[in-house]
Subunit: 203 residues, 2 copies
DNA sequence: CATCATTGTTGTCATTGACAGCATTGTTGG
DNA sequence: CCAACAATGCTGTCAATGACAACAATGATG
């Protein structure tokens, strides 16, 4: 009396792609109910497996979160890469990049918070580092190009990356943290980039 | 065999100032072992009270975290206020402010992360909002003064606050998140402020 | 000093993450 | 074709935790 499939496709002993299913469910829960109320057992229930099944795919809860964050960075990196049009004039190019980043922050506030909150597993961070690099790389590329073209000042690229990155990151954090509404954020992008490029001092 | 004080002053039925003791212990734990491993019961043990005692002072765990964050904002706000010298020329004044903020981020990385991660209790946020306002206020004051003196461009103050605030916040987040070492951060402050004021475009 | 609000205490519950041991399935080499 | 064997799931169990209820000691107040 054990083998009694309740619906055609459910109840296979092997789920097929549990890992992916868990990640998907996790991200949905994250979006709906926040990172706090993310429980492995709850996920298992949602996906329809036993409470210990997730353990086969994620060593512990942190591993699940790491995977989630990694996926986030990959999507963000890809979005940024796709949004970067080298043909655009600097200010518009940067604005487009910023808009994309902030858009991601708006649509994935909770996820972004997760991504920021690294609990550096020294091994998981290899992949992570690569993913992060790809997101940061987009910005670096824009600035490097601009520097090569003489559109922005010379000087240590690291420093320029830092300023620009910090400003973008700060905005995104404002959004993710709820200090800034999506509307206000998007409305401010243009000004943000402008002021970054032109400075606050009168010319 | 119940009433047997193990040391002179310990073991009073009423702790005297449990609330404060809990907050202190919590902050220490936060600093040492991170926000994740912060348990009410553990705190109770450290302070030497029963596992349910904290419940008298904090409705639930989140309330404790809120109180912690609030205290953080108060300290930060005070530090910023104290560091702001209206007599200083703009760039130095701003740099001093930034240094103070980043210093706080360095010394209280975990706490800062807590402060960013608001779970808006609509009531607790009144006090919180006031505390936040005080920290943000420092920056606003500097920029408003500068604008009055014609040292920076005119235009919507909100927008200027946003850019500057985002850049500072971003740096602090980099520190709190471990992407930036304290040394690198402090070394970059000067450049950050400079680039903010003067812009990235050549003059 | 009798009453009552504060503040602690013990006891209990459901939930959770982690792990151990076993069961089922899929795969691979003989 | 099938006998290992690896992967992947399952059930059972544990200790820790947050939350709550009922009760006890203390302190404040009229």
């Amino acid at each position: 009396m054990v083998r009694m499939p309740e619906s055609p496709e459910s109840r296979r002993y092997h789920h097929g792609d549990l890992r992916a299913a868990l990640l998907t469910a996790a991200e949905r829960t994250l979006r709906d109910k926040g990172a706090a109320s993310l429980s492995l057992r709850e996920l298992a229930r949602e996906v329809g497996v036993s409470h210990a099944a997730p353990g086969r795919h994620f060593k512990d809860k942190q591993a699940l979160l790491n995977a989630l964050a990694l996926a986030g960075y990959e999507r963000l990196g890809q979005a940024l890469g796709a949004a970067d049009d080298r043909a655009l004039p600097l200010e518009r190019r940067l604005t487009a990049l910023a808009r994309t980043y902030l858009g991601f922050a708006i649509d994935n506030a909770e996820l972004l918070e997760l991504m920021y909150a690294r609990k550096h597993d020294p091994d998981a961070s290899e992949q992570m580092a690569a993913a992060v690099e790809q997101t940061v790389g987009s910005l670096e590329r824009v600035l490097a190009d601009a520097q090569n073209r003489g559109e922005i000042i010379e000087g240590d690229p690291e420093e320029l990356n830092l300023v620009t990155g910090a400003a973008l990151h700060g905005m995104a954090a404002f959004i993710a943290g709820g200090w800034l509404t999506p509307e206000a954020a998007l409305a401010g992008v243009e000004g943000l980039v402008h002021h970054l490029l032109h400075g606050l001092k009168p010319r």
